[in-house]
Assembly symmetry: C2
Homo-oligomer: 234 residues x 2
């Protein structure tokens, strides 16, 4: 089982590590971390570096492809023809093509979500329309062999669903227990729908502040949807 | 806010990355990844490598210390006097000393949980007694400035709780929404208590199989508690 996880500077590490934590435990898993250019990849908050052991030119196929999201770095990837061409090529070979968080915008830019429904992080989901994709607020959405998931935890949930599809629910449940994945956050503010208006407003301010740190990408990103639009779905 | 996350070969990456994803977003966060010897650190499933940018000798203090768990690698750490002495030293300087999963066994071995209650991964929690610690099946337990958490998701939940303590619940909720942490696993088998007997049995077999890959540590680990003991608490 060749599992290919695409890394890029500015990624949200948990978007990659969540699915990795589940998928890498499959008994026949062979996980490859791939980047446009192999080497050290820096996370969105700049403190953690991961190793991408392969260039995209070295990877020709995958059984499972995972595209993680980011605060704003995904915009750079979604404009990079070499990356998009590679994703298109790999997608033709996959059993499952998946994304977490704003990773779905990269899939959309690669043209493989055209005419389909998809989800994304609340700060990026409005961008799916630009690529002929219908945004939907579900936690993860399966469209044929493509699964797009929302933020960090939905990536873990999606991976467990995927493992259930691949090796059966009994084993998937055992992997869940193996890693003791039994979430119960102290607050219930993890989605736009559940969070109160003050929380949404503050999170939007935080996201804007972080996104503005990369001004070269800000022009594309700055049209964050209004609070009301977000609350009512996209 | 100096946040020190200890890395070691064989760690469960999500145990480190879960708290990182939350804590590194604090506006004054300065996160340092530290290992006995700096360099590349390999995860328990061997595919992912992270960078530890500091040797333990280079870090003298921390506001928050995070000790992640592992399938079996934690046993090596819990026998390493240099690591334990360093943890003792850093603990004297912290505002919060925390662990995720079997990381609590390392804290216990360092002597700082002596006479206290603590939790751990279900496969390691029985080992706490060896160090004069009272095991308890809560998801995370605060004892003064020490917080021990269970498996991967409890680490994220614990970090959100911690952020609530540090900067207030309103900001903590906004961070939760920022990363869209709204977990809802497709199965409800994430704890020994909830999982059915077949799932517990299978997960225990998987854990045993993985743990046996490091035979040098297996002798210490092999007394996994019985199913009945696990189900009834420890």
């Amino acid at each position: 089982m060749n599992i290919v996880i695409y890394l890029y500077n500015g990624l949200t590490v948990l978007d990659a590590v969540g699915p990795y934590e589940v998928l890498s435990r499959l008994s026949d898993a062979n996980v490859k971390f791939v980047a446009r250019e192999k080497g050290l990849i820096v996370s969105d908050t700049h403190f953690l570096k991961l190793v991408a052991e392969y260039d995209i030119s070295e990877i020709q196929s995958a059984d499972i492809l995972v595209i993680p999201g980011s605060v704003i770095g995904f915009i750079r990837e979604s404009k990079d023809a070499a990356v998009l061409n590679w994703i298109q090529k790999i997608h033709q070979t996959t059993t499952w093509t998946t994304s977490v968080c704003s990773g779905s915008v990269i899939l959309a830019a690669a043209g493989i979500l055209n005419g389909k429904k998809a989800t994304s992080h609340w700060g990026a989901i409005h961008m799916l329309r630009d690529f002929g994709v219908t945004p939907s607020n579900e936690r993860y959405i399966q469209e044929g062999k493509i699964i797009t998931a929302q933020g960090v935890s939905a990536g873990i949930d999606m991976a467990l669903f995927l493992v259930g599809q691949l090796v059966g629910v009994e084993k998937a449940k055992a992997y869940q227990l193996f890693i003791e994945y039994d979430p119960n956050p102290p607050f219930d503010a993890g989605t736009i729908i559940k969070a109160d208006t003050e929380t949404v407003d503050l999170a939007k301010k935080m996201l804007t502040y972080e996104a503005k740190k990369d001004l070269s990408l800000w022009d594309t990103f700055k049209n964050l949807p209004s609070l009301i639009k977000l609350k009512n779905g996209v």
